[in-house]
Symmetry: D2
Subunit: 137 residues, 4 copies
Amino acid sequence: MAKIERVGISLETALLEQYDKLIAKQGYENRSEAVRDLIRQSLASEKVKKPDTKAIGGIFIVYDHHATDVSHKLLEMQHHHFLQTISSTHVHLDHHNCLEVIILKGKVSELEHIGEHLTSLKGVKLGKVNIMATEVE
Amino acid sequence: MAKIERVGISLETALLEQYDKLIAKQGYENRSEAVRDLIRQSLASEKVKKPDTKAIGGIFIVYDHHATDVSHKLLEMQHHHFLQTISSTHVHLDHHNCLEVIILKGKVSELEHIGEHLTSLKGVKLGKVNIMATEVE
Amino acid sequence: MAKIERVGISLETALLEQYDKLIAKQGYENRSEAVRDLIRQSLASEKVKKPDTKAIGGIFIVYDHHATDVSHKLLEMQHHHFLQTISSTHVHLDHHNCLEVIILKGKVSELEHIGEHLTSLKGVKLGKVNIMATEVE
Amino acid sequence: MAKIERVGISLETALLEQYDKLIAKQGYENRSEAVRDLIRQSLASEKVKKPDTKAIGGIFIVYDHHATDVSHKLLEMQHHHFLQTISSTHVHLDHHNCLEVIILKGKVSELEHIGEHLTSLKGVKLGKVNIMATEVE
């Protein structure tokens, strides 16, 4: 089990009252939980700035299913970029549009690169890349 | 088939040269494709600002699988918030950590709300919400 | 003087060690200071989402000084939008380009609106709007 | 005078109609202007990713004027980081709070670094760094 430490933080009463209201609205059960999440986010967003950090990427692609072959290109790119595809989910949005959510492991720079390439494929209408640095050990 | 129109855009030669280099690097085959994507992104990011826009949300949650019951909470929230879960993908990151990627349909405000709530659950270490306004009709 | 409170936060030793390294790199003298800033940022980014929040906006505009009359348009817009301009700084970037940094007070929605309008003026090449919810009382 | 070129872009009529509405709302007089701005933003946000790009930074700092000496620290940092301060604007927000907007020239990495350090100074409550890659030549 992970070792736990208790630290003291001093802050203005007025600030604390506002913060307690915010985290109650967000659904937090207690302050420790909320502050821990702020600290984790702060570390994660620092890590993600470094191109070599190992991370998880979620690539969202909306495309016309008549016009492209995203899964084929994805396969091809894996061989070029040594990325590890974890999973791929296909959603039928409407008559024309598909959503593909591809979850990958790799370095931040690789994930950005493949995100750029998938987004620029012919037939892809919208793309978004979500990169998370998960290893906080 | 969608009606296509051709429009003329005038811009500085120097700017165009730089842009052609950028889109080649990104993997675009031609300029029309790249400019269309810029226009679509511009529309999509405008739509996503409005809380009532119907959108697709991808919620990424990293959590300790010993400590929480994300899928249970997700189910519960759907009944409260009238969201439609499309799919849910579970990934085993390491001995302690799981990644859950939940794809939902709903209004932007609903997706933000459920994202906040899932991120604040006990045991959830990191959360990110990716919202896309997909309907460009 | 503001009333100060001391709160206890429990978190994993490993997480704490990483965080202490990060904040030392960022230049913080102690942990309380750093966590207070995370809490303030969290409150500020929540406030800025609401269109009615009173905020400070910094609008950055790069424009060709031969081609436009930003200051004239700014004046005009103030009368239309009831914004309060606090200051305006003009910087000569190079032979062609000027930077104008305009600091305004107003509601978030007004600041976004004027930012959009200034950015879209003929001759303006690049624009960015930085909105901060400052009143934490 | 800059050489101008005219390029043709083909896109769906429905997409074009939506885009024309959006840019009218944003205040654009014509489509060329709007698309040029999208292209410039696209180039600028690509440039800003590279740590060595020369850029303009606007650093916003809200601080308690009783508790800190931002201008002194700024001076000190310039000597350490070889940045060039262009201007600094001081705004009295209320009885306790000041806003300092500092405009600097430097590499992206330097601007981020000084932004981090100013934001972490004792007495600084809120900080934001706005970096623009202006040279599109």
